[in-house]
């Protein structure tokens, strides 16, 4: 969820990884989890069928709510935005359909279309709330849900007023009237399948999928690679709203009655839980969760129907605790028992050696830049110009302000004073994404890889940045990513989950990602930290090759021998101030520099 959790090998929600298509079958362990899940599912479905007086009706209702759930699945499950007002958007759609169908004599299909659009429009209106993150977003959407309730209860201008709309006519297409449960079931199912397909085509693959996963796990990383997080959030939220509206329109036609009962905060909660029960990484899972939600109304039988939320809550608790990937079984549960599913249908491309794509180096300079946190001054009026195309190291003892300075240049922190110029432009007020689009790439002290994506997908995030605005096929992007991986020596690990790599290898993946974005200025934050002697040499080579493409490289480092071997120029900081800037050997020999490190002059 947040960057701090990115490193933990994930069994948390949303952590499904694509399995490597290995030829040799792994030893067959009994798939306990998979069997349990399947058993749970089967049991649940059978119980529902047994207990429901009208199974078809339950299915129909499930299918309708599933459409809304799938929309929420995109927003909450895939993109990780905690939205708790989806039921309100469904209600908006229901009212729209009802109002149109009751007052207009034209085709009701238009009403259905309008209901979807109404849901999307309502989402668009609410979308500024997405600027809030995490818990504030959750509370804000709860407020929206309650607000909708309040407005409907008091607003006389809502069609139907307090009592709601009654007698809403069912859908009629080309003279065929959708009467009864069965036609609506088929219609809802058809639309559900269509929705899932469309969502998958657009958001389930390619660069959109990667962007959404990055948005979910590490929003700032997405910005660091040029993605506009806010635009993406708005887009998925509106799409979720469109689907919610559609579900509302179907509901209104099916039941003929619309009121705010049954579309309140509790239902929004239930939808969110449904997404999680199904497994938030898969849209189909959300549909399944909706079935569980609807079925909970009947599965306990008539006497206990009042305890359906206890059941739902209990299922959720068990799911979060024991089946973080969701209750719906997946093929990966049964690896070794089913024939290997070749997930990628592409022929293995021959990774072309990375053509040394020459780039124009970006000029970088800072003028009297400062950063203070209250009384503590981390960077103190530093003025510095980095020679374009140089390999410069930023060094200094602990607390000198090196990483802070890097943060200021990259846009990860705002300056307290001074200016940052990239390529001659004043970028002081510009955000990360905008600086990234100028050709800036950066790595961090801790590893920032998206855990739900494979190695190559993580690298592709860099490729996507370089390919932004151009039409480059997925195949071509993939081959570029693989070339970058080969460049850093990880050719065979493209489809592995990042959790399976060692620390040093993950650092290399980050380098491959940075390389793929064809940066003109690269900022590396302690790239050698955590690497052992064997790995450091290879890493230095990678940095040199990157530098050979012509970009400017600025790296913060503690490992001075590493710096000595690698850097042409060195910038030394001490206590936030610039101490020296020049040729590596020259600076190293300076008494003040040595004193800053070890306290007194070397004889």
């Amino acid at each position: 969820m947040g960057p701090g959790l990115a490193e933990i090998s994930n069994s948390d929600v949303g952590g499904a990884a694509v399995d490597a298509t290995i030829v040799a079958a792994p030893p067959r362990r009994i798939p306990v989890a998979g069997l349990l899940r399947t058993a749970a599912v089967v049991l649940f479905v059978v119980a529902t069928w047994h207990q429901s007086p009208d199974f078809v009706s339950v299915l129909g209702l499930s299918a309708i709510w599933a459409i809304a759930a799938v929309g929420l699945g995109l927003v909450l499950g895939s993109a990780g935005q905690i939205v708790l007002c989806q039921a309100s958007l469904v209600l908006v759609g229901a009212y729209m359909y009802g109002a149109i169908a009751l007052t207009w004599s034209g085709p009701t299909v238009v009403g259905l279309l309008a209901s979807a659009l109404a849901g999307g429009a309502a989402a668009l209106v609410i979308s500024p709330v997405l600027r809030a993150r995490g818990y504030y977003l959750a509370i804000a959407t709860m407020a929206v849900s309650l607000l909708t309730d309040q407005v409907i209860t008091t607003g006389g201008w809502i069609p139907g007023g307090n009592a709601g709309l009654i007698g809403v006519p069912t859908l009629k297409v080309f003279g065929y009237r959708f009467n009864g449960a069965n036609p609506y079931l088929y219609l809802a199912l058809a639309l559900l399948v269509l929705s899932i397909a469309v969502l998958h085509l657009r958001y389930g693959r390619g660069h959109m999928r990667r962007a959404i996963q990055a948005l979910h796990h590490d929003e700032d990383l997405l910005a660091g690679y040029g993605g506009h997080a806010s635009r993406l959030k708005r887009e998925v939220f509106v799409v979720g709203g469109l689907l919610a509206g559609l579900a509302g329109g179907l509901y209104a036609g099916d039941f003929g009655y619309v009121s705010d009962n049954g579309f309140g905060l509790v239902e929004s909660f239930a939808l969110a839980l449904a997404v999680f029960i199904g497994g938030s990484s898969r849209l189909v899972g959300a549909a399944f969760g909706a079935l569980v939600y609807q079925a909970s109304f009947t599965v306990l039988g008539n006497r206990l129907v009042d305890y359906r939320f206890v059941l739902l809550g209990g299922i959720v608790a068990a799911t979060v605790r024991f089946f973080p990937r969701g209750l719906m079984p997946s093929l990966s549960d049964f690896e070794g028992w089913v024939p290997e599913v070749n997930v990628r249908r592409r022929p293995a491309p021959v990774a072309a050696p990375m053509k040394a794509e020459k780039v124009e180096p970006l000029e970088m300079s800072v003028e009297a830049v400062s950063k203070s946190y209250g009384a503590l001054t981390a960077v103190d009026h530093v003025t510095l110009e980095v020679r374009p195309g140089s390999l410069t190291a930023l060094i200094g003892p602990n607390g000198a302000g090196k990483t802070t300075l890097l943060d200021l240049v990259a846009g990860d922190q705002n300056v307290s004073g001074g200016r940052i110029l990239l390529g001659g432009n004043d970028v002081t007020l510009r955000g990360r994404a905008s600086r990234a689009r100028l050709g800036l790439a950066r790595t961090y002290q801790r590893i920032r890889l998206v855990p739900s994506l494979t190695v190559v997908d993580n690298v592709l995030i860099g490729v996507d940045q370089a390919a932004r605005g151009t039409r480059v096929s997925d195949l071509e992007r993939r081959s570029r990513a693989e070339a970058a991986l080969a460049e850093v020596g990880l050719a065979g690990r493209a489809d592995a989950p990042v959790g399976s790599l060692t620390f040093g290898q993950r650092r290399l993946v980050e380098m491959a990602r940075a390389i793929s974005s064809h940066p003109r200025l690269v900022l590396l934050d302690e790239p050698s930290s955590g690497l052992n002697d064997a790995e450091i040499g290879g890493f230095a080579d990678v940095i040199r090759r990157l530098h050979a493409t012509g970009c400017t490289v600025l790296l913060v480092e503690h490992n001075l021998p590493f710096v000595r071997a690698l850097a042409e120029d060195v910038v030394a900081l001490d206590r936030g101030k610039l101490l020296a800037h020049g040729d590596t050997e020259h600076v190293f020999a300076l008494p003040e520099f040595q004193r800053s490190y070890i306290g007194a002059v070397a004889e």
């Binding site: 490193e7 003892p397 602990n398 607390g399 060692t502 620390f503 050698s528 930290s529 955590g530 052992n532 002697d533 503690h558 490992n559 001075l560 021998p561 590493f562 000595r564 190293f588 040595q594 490190y597 070890i598 306290g599 007194a600 070397a602 004889e603």
Partner: protein, 242 residues
């Protein structure tokens, strides 16, 4: 043997091994400087000694008693005091509250806690003057005194200081070093982990150099002072000083 004895310590975080077999000893009354560049494992070492981190191999003996396996508060009671990097104080709490919370965390009784706080105040009069002030309003040097005072609450036999010079003006740093000397002379083991070694060497008894997770050099302080060019070399060229 009296004092601190670390043998073959191996520790890390997840699949990242930081300490690859650290061994050194420091007797009572000794001020040991543990030098080394960043990434060498200095903080990891101290975390392991205090008990925050569990080593996968090796032993830590305090006056012959094995510390590995004991929880933090037991080690504190047995006499290990840590002054963490960045001081590890609670900025929104007053000086007195900081001391009090630490005392209770170490499961000191009321009278022990009171005695401990008195000890801290006696060691650093400035702490006594600032008892009612919030820690975040104190200067770096004053905060350092509070942090060391806090470590003294349990009358520790071993005092560990992690980069105490950070953020301190040189003159304050020398005063901290004098205090460390005094504490060592009282019969404690004082281990100072530092990058800025040279001033420390003037008051220290011995110097050990940590590099890439191992102690590569362990000499008497005067010898350390003589070996400065080599020491600098360790930093700047990475060759293990022979």
């Amino acid at each position: 043997m009296n004092g601190l004895q670390v043998e073959g310590l191996v520790a890390g975080y997840g699949d990242l091994t930081v300490l690859r077999g650290v061994s050194f000893t420091a007797g009572r009354g000794e001020l040991l400087v543990l030098a080394g560049p960043n990434g060498a494992g200095k903080t990891t070492l101290l975390s392991t000694v205090i008990g925050r981190l569990t080593p996968s191999a090796g032993s830590i003996l305090l006056d012959g008693q094995e510390l590995v396996g004991l929880p933090i508060h037991r080690r504190t009671r047995l006499g290990v005091g840590l002054v963490p990097e960045g001081r590890g104080l609670f900025p929104g709490l007053t000086v007195w509250e900081n001391l009090r919370v630490a005392a209770r965390a170490a499961r000191l009784s009321r009278s022990e806690a009171r005695a401990g706080i008195e000890r801290a105040v006696n060691a650093f009069p400035v702490v006594g003057e600032r008892l009612k002030q919030k820690v975040r309003t104190l200067s770096g040097g004053e905060q350092q005194m509070v942090a060391i005072g806090r470590a003294l609450l349990t009358d520790p036999g071993v005092l560990l200081l992690d980069e105490p010079s950070m953020g301190l003006a040189p003159i304050v740093w020398s005063r901290v070093l004098e205090t460390c000397r005094r504490l060592a002379d009282e019969g404690r083991v004082v281990v100072v982990v530092e990058q800025r070694v040279l001033e420390a060497l003037e008051t220290a008894d011995r110097c050990a150099v940590l590099q890439q997770g191992r102690v590569v050099r362990d000499v008497a302080a005067e010898q350390g002072a003589i070996a400065i060019p080599e020491l600098a070399g360790t930093y700047f060229s990475g060759e293990a000083a022979s």
